[in-house]
Amino acid sequence: MRALSVSSEALDIRTRLLLSLVVSGVSIYLSGTGPLLALGAATLLYVLASGRYKVILVAYLAVCAMMALTVGVILLSFKIGEWFAAGTSWEQGVAMLKPALLGNFHTPFLRMIPALNVLLAIGLDFSVQRFVGAMKSLHLPRVVLVPLMVFCRFVPEFIDVIRQLRDAVRMRGFSMSLGAALLHPIQAIRLTFVPLTVRTLRMADHLSVAAEMKRVGYAKRPTQLLALRFRRVDFAVLAVAACLLAAICAWQAAIPATPYGPSSMKSDQQQEAAHE
């Protein structure tokens, strides 16, 4: 599967960024279960091409957990209301929720799926190098490009500093876990905030010195040694995506409106009239 990968080096990072942008926008527009499922399935195929099945499964399980948590919190609120005799009773709440669960309750979650898929496709094969290259080739203004380069350069080093700090704290007989932070919040701040702040400021100083010495930021449009080029596969994937998205949008336009999404926004009066 990896050999057939379209989300790996075969695809330009700009193609993937464009796909994620357009698919996310379209998923907001869609409200019908059918079109959303179709978009979800198409983008699932796209992310499966990365071959990272385990991570994808974990991400999907997380979405399911989020959905279950939402339902659980709503049900709990009914139960609490019942305990305090100040709101909807449990039976009433469940009765109210049932049509929503069977109806359009899942729509926001279905909207998350395509966005999740396209973002996973970027994240699972993210290369700082290619990302910065893409940003350079887009000829972004230097006020955007330079901070972006600094950010991309800063993040891996910052992660390494956190790892080392965790070791240093453990060697002093303390822990950087959430439990330890909740039990001893002031100590947790002292053990993490001071060294991290000092180290971050020092890193920032070093980076600004390095930027000065390399003349980074002195030109409006720097030359780019490694120019990124769209290849046939990029055009092919974009063409297929455009056709699919157009078909799905047409399907959405053809089906009756639902209580969610821009295509179905009705006035309260219209909705009441429909109920009557």
């Binding site: 080392q164 001071v194 000065e212 010495m213 390399k214 980074v216 449009r221 030359t223 040694l225 120019a227």
Partner: protein, 489 residues
């Protein structure tokens, strides 16, 4: 243009809000294709001089400059963008200098921001990579390079930018002896290409036969300023013969590689490693495969191995910071829980900033002592260590406000305050002058004399010569200490 690449006459510089000048009365001249070493004890003004030469002063760091300074034909102060075209800088830690993520992009970066044509950039990048034997590394991430390779990548960037003057700040601080020798050869090649070099370093031995001028600073003033005469004596030998050299806190000019016995045969074990197997994750390579060794009690053991062999990983395993997939580590003959190991061991890491947490130096020491020790005993011990490490006058200062050398001494003092049975130090003397290095060596020797087991990860040959008594050699997939090959740390 004048024949002088650098012409400094009575240069003085004072940082804002300070009374004493950082530099005073500095005069020297350096021709194209010559190399100069600037050395001296910590805080003597070496880095300030370097910042003057590469334009960071007064463009990035403000202050008052007096005297006459011409660098690469420009009269200072000059805007940074003018000087950056002619002067390249190599910092002590290349990681702090990288801006791009791949070697090729890093080398091309300065040229890209100079808006050079793409063909010219390609040619100059390829040439620089070829000169430094980095062609095969062009697409590699800079984060995956060894210390020596990183230093070469930084130099390649400077070469590609066709800098006339290269200033290097402690270039050997993180290099192995082999990489240091290679750097010396490289400097000779650069000189032959007409590049002028100013090297700021504590380590001296590697520069025999390389230098044309040597400047020793003490409290901002030149106490030794010599130029090599054609057929004259080597400048480092000349320095060693100076009657006051011992007062300047320098390192030795001649250092040899010590031959050490294997640790397994050295004495009673404090730590026994049995069949250790470790990899960072399921997909990463095996670092240790059934490795066994003994760490002797009452001795300083040098952990020896190439970059990436797993020296720091072994230190983390021995301290209970990482868990082996197989095998066991016995402390004083017992298999302990990792938390208990961490109570008995102390680990001094390379990065000092992240090991200092408290508001004052004294509090930092008190915080490091075991909780069970009575307050009065802790305070007496803190006072003793403050005096031993020359930190008593800094007791009420914030630890993060100390200089690099002072922080290094404080972190080691904190480790000793813990009263560990096993003390591991990872490059404890990189960037330290001779005086501070000898203070740390003496304390390490005393720790071993008191019956502790000390493990030393270092490329510092001088430190090894002073304190290391035996070696633990690791070579990727490890085998036990066994026979003793000559040390090549």
């Amino acid at each position: 243009m004048s024949e002088w690449m650098i012409d400094a006459r009575d240069v003085a510089y004072r940082y804002p809000f300070t009374e004493a000048p950082a530099l005073e009365g500095i005069s020297f001249r350096l021709r194209k294709g010559e190399a100069m070493l600037v050395t001296g004890a910590s805080g003597c003004g070496k880095s300030t001089l370097l910042r003057l030469l590469n334009g960071l002063i007064p463009n990035h760091y403000k202050g008052t400059l007096t005297g006459a300074l011409r660098v690469a034909g420009e009269t200072c102060p000059v805007p940074m963008e003018t000087l950056a075209k002619r002067v390249g800088t190599v910092l002590q830690n290349p990681d702090e200098q990288f801006f791009a993520t791949s070697v090729e992009e890093e080398v091309a970066l300065t040229l890209e921001w100079q808006c050079r044509p793409r063909d010219e950039i390609r040619r100059r990048v390829d040439d620089a990579l070829r000169v430094l034997d980095l062609t095969d590394f062009a697409r590699r991430s800079v984060f995956t390079l060894s210390s020596g390779e990183k230093q070469k990548a930084t130099l390649a960037a400077v070469l590609a930018a066709e800098a006339d003057l290269v200033v290097m700040d402690e270039p050997t601080a993180n290099l192995s002896p082999e990489a240091t020798d290679e750097l010396a050869r490289l400097i000779l090649r650069l000189k032959a290409h007409g590049v002028t070099l100013v090297i700021v370093d504590h380590r001296l031995y590697w520069l025999h036969g390389v230098l044309d001028r040597l400047l020793v600073l003490e409290r901002g003033r030149a106490v030794f300023n010599a130029e090599k005469m054609p057929g004259g004596e080597d400048l480092l030998d000349l320095l060693a013969a100076q009657p006051r050299v011992a007062e300047w806190g320098l390192r030795r000019v001649d250092v040899s590689r010590p031959e050490l016995p294997a640790c397994d045969t050295f004495g009673a074990p404090a730590v026994e490693i049995r069949g250790l197997t470790f990899r960072h994750s399921k997909k990463s390579r095996l670092i240790f495969d059934g490795f066994s060794a003994n760490v002797p009690r009452g001795a300083v053991t040098a952990i020896v191995g190439a970059n990436g062999a797993g020296k720091t990983t072994l230190a983390r395993l021995l301290c209970g910071l990482a868990k082996p997939q197989a095998g066991e580590i016995l402390h004083e003959g017992r298999a302990l829980r990792r938390r208990d190991i961490r109570e008995r061991a102390a680990f001094v890491m390379q990065q000092m900033d992240i090991q200092l947490f408290m508001r004052t130096v004294r509090e930092e020491l008190l915080f490091s002592a075991p909780r069970a020790v009575p307050r009065a005993v802790r305070e007496a011990e803190a006072d003793r260590l403050l005096a031993l490490f020359g930190l008593a006058h800094l007791a009420e200062r914030h630890p993060q406000s100390l200089s690099g050398g002072e922080k290094q001494r404080l972190v080691i003092a904190c480790a000793l305050m813990k009263r560990p049975s096993l003390l591991i130090l990872d490059e404890p003397t990189s960037g330290l002058d001779g005086r501070n290095m000898r203070v740390i060596a003496a304390q390490l020797a005393q720790f071993a004399l008191d019956g502790g087991a000390a493990l030393l990860i270092t490329h510092d040959l001088e430190l090894l010569e002073l304190v290391a008594q035996c070696q633990l050699r690791i070579e990727g997939k490890l085998q036990s200490g066994g026979e003793s090959p000559p040390v090549a740390p």
